[in-house]
Assembly symmetry: C2
Homo-oligomer: 373 residues x 2
DNA sequence: CTGAAAGCGCTTACAG
DNA sequence: CTGAAAGCGCTTACAG
């Protein structure tokens, strides 16, 4: 074993000023330093770092000791540069203050962490400009894949350069039809179908469909799911029970008022989203009807705030953490396989009865004709 | 101008297999490629990339054209390696499903993004093991600073190696007393003081303090704030109005039951956290008293769920986004100055009257003696 | 204003 | 099993 050589580290052409380190701080140790202390070559240290069993036990032991002695920290950036790979994936979320997306990020993080990757997370706050900047930034940082819940109004063109660059990406929750990338969407039809079954199970027979506009895919899919469940029970969803409106709270309120004016009016409704469901509850209350207890209201949990604001509201939602895990797995599979998939994947949907402020609706039975308590 | 030279790129000792790229994918262009196409040297391209005005307009133009033509993407990892700096900061959060911390992350992200940094976000889910792993991982990824909301039970020793390494860190929300790092904590005393003033302003004169145990710093600080406000109004907080308990929902319920048994009982209380406040409301309801309307309840919003579950509950909380922005600024200041601060910073606290399910409490006036409506 | 060269901290055939 | 050398994609004095 040759004695450890003092390496000179000449500060030749590229004298490095070590920006980012406090003036007096000692230089961070590198594998060369470790090799020197352990009396082996850099290669050997590199093998030890990556747990290659080829190294002799003695050498390994000396290397490990040297590492702890020096407080060595592996520089993954340098390794990534050399290997032309990266151990980071980018996660771009349209609104992290929305707990749905926060939970989604948590689910993603679980998988990403346990796969030894690190998550670059950016929040776009529904800003298309910020989304563009963030995508560019993450590409520069060399992420090996990206998960995006696009901001509203994102077009195929916005994401095409990214996809064309060969970057594995998964688009989640909000679809961008026609994009050649993996897209993971909730099973709207199944959710609406189960909502219908749920209401039927509670004894409802006249069920309305509120909010949204008929020329959107999401409207048609959700409506179809409801119709399917009703048809199974031999019930036809009457057109007059189908009331389009803005997919907003105000829209829901107006739609509910129209619904309540019908003869033989429904005793329950399915709303296109939770904002509309809020509005439907507003409309019921202003008519002196208690939502939930006297009139069944279910909304798709798109805006993901239903749990707080409407006590007795039943929501249809995806388990966001499970969705996050699924999405991350789909991405990592592509990353490790070195190829890009273009599948459309749907995710299961659950009916969630929120037990928030008031008594949950399911405790009250079929209701609808029952006078206020 | 010499004609563009074909660089050979010999695959000598270190033939790079290009892991992480699909088989047929073309190599990503580098500044050498851009230089070749633009007919300039690498140095010039580098100067253009970083917007150095020293480059002639003609050269700049040709470089920019070459970049768009090739679809060049800056490799920040390589630049960081060379500059021994990094444009990433690590954010380690104990529970991202808690909307308080999600909002915190959003605030951090805002500052981090606009400073041109990228955020590595990891969720520990209150696991000390995961926290240790994540800290190690982020160090390996070369973050230039870290923001941590530590998991419960984190000790000074857990974070000391990190601090000793010279890494700028900011510990937020949960204090680790004795750690030589910037720590940003809510102003508990001021919050309690303002809660007291708020209750006094509503006409309350007998105010209780519920939950927690007297041997904790947080208990003493919050209690002191309440006492201060009462003293200003010439009121002494009676010891019997101070009821310690587990800082849980069950604890709060038990404490409230004890409080209600007192002669000349209080008409309002301040709770050590929102879980206790939930419990206090439970206790009130089981005694037939409507919380908020008939009995003032304020809780510190530590668990950050108050807004959903207790309609009429007043909470004392920090604006988490503002806190996040503040924290990020404190970190970035250290990062760019290349030094490490060890200050203890407190953040302002606000009284928030939640307008969730029921009528907000402030609409009901002093209350407390008023019979149930 | 531009080019050639060195080096950031790693990994990887290759020769011993 | 170990060592010397080349190179990942950048930046930076330095010489022209």
């Amino acid at each position: 074993m040759t004695p450890a050589k003092k390496k000179k580290r000449p500060m030749g052409g590229g004298a490095v000023p070590r920006r980012g380190r406090a003036a007096g701080m000692p230089r961070k140790p590198t594998i060369s330093d470790v090799a020197e202390v352990a009396g082996v070559s850099k290669s050997t240290v590199s093998l030890v770092v990556r747990n290659n069993p080829i190294v002799s036990d003695g050498a390994r032991k000396r290397v490990l000791e040297a590492m702890t002695k020096l407080g060595y920290v592996y520089n993954r950036g340098a390794a990534n540069l050399r290997m032309a790979s990266s151990s980071a994936i980018g996660v771009i979320v349209n609104d992290l203050t929305n707990s749905f997306f926060a939970e989604l990020a948590v689910g993603i993080d679980m998988i990403v962490q346990s796969a030894g990757f690190v998550q670059l997370l950016a929040n776009t706050g529904e800003s298309i400009d910020r989304q563009r900047e963030v995508i560019a930034s993450m590409r520069e940082h060399g992420v090996s894949g990206m998960i995006i819940t696009p901001v509203h109004g994102t077009s195929v063109e916005d994401l095409k350069p990214l996809v064309d660059s060969g970057m594995p990406i998964v688009v989640a929750v909000r679809d961008i039809p026609g994009l050649h990338a993996t897209r993971v969407m909730p099973e709207n039809r199944k959710g609406a179908y189960e909502a219908g079954r749920y209401l039927l199970g509670l004894g409802h027979r006249r069920i309305g469909f509120l909010g949204g506009f008929a020329d959107t895919a999401v409207f048609q899919t959700r409506l179809q799911g409801l119709k399917d469940s009703l048809k199974e029970a031999g019930i036809h969803l009457e057109d007059r029970f189908m009331i389009p409106s803005n997919a907003s709270r105000a829209g829901g309120s107006a739609a509910m008022r129209r619904l309540l004016q019908l003869e033989e009016r429904p005793t329950a409704c399915l709303c296109i989203n939770d904002a509309v469901a809020f509005g439907a509850c507003d409309g019921l209350r202003s008519a002196g009807i208690e939502p939930g207890r006297e009139f069944g209201v279910i909304g798709f949990d798109d805006v993901a705030e239903a749990s707080c604001a409407v006590p007795a509201l039943t929501t249809i939602s995806v388990d966001p953490q499970a969705l996050g895990r699924r999405v991350a797995q789909l991405l990592l599979r592509q990353v490790s396989a070195g190829r890009v998939d273009q599948e459309l994947v749907t995710t299961p949907i659950r009916l969630v009865v929120r037990e928030s402020c008031g008594a949950p609706w399911r405790d009250t039975g079929p209701g609808g004709e029952k006078p206020a308590g």
